[in-house]
Symmetry: C2
Subunit: 145 residues, 2 copies
């Protein structure tokens, strides 16, 4: 099971870059987690790029109007993906004006990290922390604070 995180635009906030690095490092022992950045632009363009980059993956769009999952729910889904040999799971973080309807309709899940509107680089950190937490629970290893 590999996680692919796709986001639009280069991170510009120092703390968010650091947070992303930290969790990508912590995720390393658990298998492949890859962060790929696509070029920023209009909702239309970014959605197309995100769809192209996630071809063949189970797709999860990040959207504040999506479902709210508990950590438990994410872990249960991850167990399911492992059991059914779903190899690649892509998390799609859009441009600031959101995803197109087409992208939303082509995703397996629409996930909301928070009902609050989160700055999208911060959303990326929250997502990575959650994937790290999920892996520690699956592996039964301690969570490093």
């Amino acid at each position: 099971m590999q996680f692919l995180i796709l986001a639009a635009g280069k991170p510009s906030l120092g703390y968010a870059k650091e947070g992303v690095e930290l969790y990508l490092n912590r995720l390393r022992p658990f298998g492949k987690t890859e962060l790929k950045l696509v070029r920023d632009g209009s909702s239309q363009d970014v959605s197309k790029r995100l769809l192209a980059a996630s071809e063949g993956c189970l797709r999860i769009a990040m959207d504040e109007r999506g479902e709210l999952w508990t950590t438990r729910k994410l872990v249960d889904l991850a167990k399911d993906w492992q059991m059914h040999s779903v190899r690649r799971i892509a998390f799609l973080i859009g441009a600031s004006d959101g995803h197109t309807e087409e992208l939303r309709s082509r995703c397996n899940h629409i996930l909301s990290l928070s009902k609050f509107t989160l700055q999208h680089e911060l959303a990326l950190v929250v997502l990575l922390e959650q994937l790290y937490r999920c892996h520690t629970i699956l592996a039964g290893t301690p969570y490093h604070r």
Copy 2:
């Protein structure tokens, strides 16, 4: 209207410290927002310290089992606090094992930033980003990314 954020323990994650600094700086022009750290310890001890430090404030406990607010809802509440001259609003972030029932019962709101279990320093960054966002909306000033 002043925001007082109370959290247990010293931040130890570099990126979170930086994120906290960034948003506290951005919040400065909008009036007083203060972060106070209380000594870490058992749920019992931390809850007592948080209650003592927030005496006289409208209290909001951060708890993943709490209500999920949209940014709009926070802004509407903030308008209400301004209108009713609620001077000090305290946000209480507990120890990793959560708040006591006593603390919960003495708070005006129980707020959940996410249904996901968030590392509590990351929760602090998310909260501060949200307070900054709230202030920019109230003031009608642009949000700096």
